[in-house]
């Protein structure tokens, strides 16, 4: 079964860093450009994230995510450049189309904001196993029930996808049409969705009983299957990141 997680197993120091430190890095990469609103700082933050992704040898894996984001960003650039209400200064003209400076600058702000968020999260998502992330959050005090819910989604979705392909074949064999007008395609949605959902909900009963008999609801302190992995420099890295956020705040207040 195909995993839905984007995690890529490689050998790099980025992979070794613990998930909590990566979460602090995300906070750093998102907060600092908000506290210090300058294009240079945003570019630097995106740059740091990209360099880390390159060190983790996962740069190529970011392409599908970035291309999805860029698709939307291109329309943002076009629409804001053409129509932003504050548009005044003409930047250039292409036949009947006029691009304005204000709109394009605003689109650049949006683009950088999205890129800083996406690139910072990519580091966490591509180099951390979801189960490791959840486990370290549970160690930090998150409820194990919430942890179970998140981890089990990664198991349930591939199971449901397998059910979908079985049901699609079955319904096609019965003559269901999946192409044609909007109405025909929407009509196909129901006989595909219905059985998958009903089956999955009926299965919840067994899953609930299986958890109950294993004492999932007992109030005893839970133990962990894996030993906590620690990274030698995580304290230093965390301290530096928090210091950088604090430094940005101080700079903002003073200037």
């Amino acid at each position: 079964m195909k995993s839905i997680s984007l995690y890529v197993n490689r050998n790099s120091f980025v992979h070794d860093v613990d998930p909590i430190t990566k979460l602090i890095y995300i906070a750093f990469a998102i907060l600092v450009p908000i506290i210090v609103p300058s294009f240079t700082i945003s570019f630097i933050c995106v740059g740091i994230s990209l360099v880390l992704l390159a060190f983790a040898k996962v740069l190529r894996k970011t392409v599908p995510v970035f291309s999805f984001v860029f698709l939307v960003l291109i329309t943002v650039v076009i629409i804001q450049g053409l129509f932003k209400p504050e548009n005044e200064t003409v930047l250039f003209q292409l036949g009947p189309i006029t691009m304005y400076q204000e709109g394009l600058l605003f689109a650049l702000t949006i683009t950088l904001r999205v890129l800083t968020i996406v690139s910072a999260f990519m580091i966490l998502v591509l180099t951390t196993k979801p189960s490791e992330l959840v486990e370290s959050l549970v160690r930090k005090g998150m409820s194990p029930s919430i942890g179970y819910m998140i981890v089990s989604v990664f198991q349930i979705i591939p199971e449901m996808m397998a059910a979908v392909s079985t049901i699609t074949d079955a319904q096609r064999a019965r003559g269901m049409e999946t192409e044609g007008s909007f109405f025909v395609r929407f009509k196909a949605f129901l006989p595909l969705m219905g059985p998958v959902v009903l089956g999955a909900l009926i299965n919840t009963k067994e899953r609930a009983m299986a958890l109950e008999v294993r004492g999932f609801n007992s109030q005893v302190q839970k133990t962990y299957l894996y030993e906590e992995k620690t990274y030698a420099y995580s304290r230093l890295i965390r301290a530096l990141l928090l210091l950088a956020i604090a430094g940005a705040l101080v700079w903002r207040i003073l200037s």
Binding site: I4, S5, L6, V65, V69, V72, T75, V76, I79, Q80, L82, F83, K84, P85, F106, A107, I110, R113, V114, I117, V118, F121, M122, V125, L133, S145, I146, Y148, M149, I150, S152, V153, F154, I156, I157, E159, M160, V164, T178, F182, R185, A188, F189, L190, L192, M193, G194, V197, L198, A200, L201, I202, N203, T204, K205, R207, A208, L211, F216, N217
Partner: protein, 201 residues
């Protein structure tokens, strides 16, 4: 039998396993909508079903976890829209427990209300993160048209979100209601949190 308050925070094991399934249903809905090239998202059927079965708290949790999973597997910006999903779960749960989704006609009305709530919550997020757009072709074309003719980004963004979200949530609620009606009674009973156990001795 006294009905337990819908705000009960105690999660039964049944609700606990319902939430991952709800997220899976959302995921499959989005996948099928993409496969059939429907111009809709249809990615909140699970959240709505979870809210109908387990109440507003379970619905809200399903919504939040849904977006955490999307954030981890597809698009990190999804984390932000968790607020919208939580709102959808809460509103559906409240409407359902007050009896506002108990017939096809009422489900129609509830779908529109849920769509409008989702719009109101999403619009500020759209403006903050995308300059007001939704990423849906038809909605964004309207956004551009309104922006070209009026001076209000907010109006353009609100309309952009309304034309996409209201039909989407309306269909989602109708589909979920249909599925809910088709569920075996012993499954629905599993989530009915009446703790009273009657014994013969």
């Amino acid at each position: 039998m006294k009905k337990q308050s819908m705000w009960s925070l105690r999660l039964s094991t049944a609700s606990l396993v319902l939430i991952p399934v709800a997220v899976g249903v959302n995921y499959i809905g989005k996948l099928l909508a993409g496969l059939l090239k429907l111009p809709l998202w249809l990615d909140s059927i699970g959240t709505v079903l979870a809210a109908m079965l387990g109440g507003p708290i379970v619905g809200a949790l399903a919504g939040a976890i849904n977006n955490i999973i999307y954030g981890l597997t597809a698009d990190p910006i999804s984390f932000v829209y968790a607020i919208t999903s939580v709102a959808i779960g809460l509103v559906t749960g409240i409407l359902f427990y007050r009896g506002y989704i108990s017939s096809w006609g009422k489900a129609l009305g509830a779908g529109i209300i849920i769509g409008l709530v989702a719009t109101v919550v999403s619009t500020p997020l759209n403006i903050g993160f995308w300059g007001g757009q939704t990423g849906n072709v038809w909605g964004d074309a309207l956004f551009a048209a309104v922006l070209a003719n009026t001076d209000s980004t907010w109006l353009a963004s609100l309309l952009d979100e309304v034309v996409v979200d209201v039909p989407d949530k309306l269909l989602v609620v109708l589909i979920s209601y249909g599925i809910f009606m088709g569920l075996p009674k012993n499954i629905v009973q599993l989530y009915n949190q009446n703790d009273k156990v009657e014994t013969l001795d």
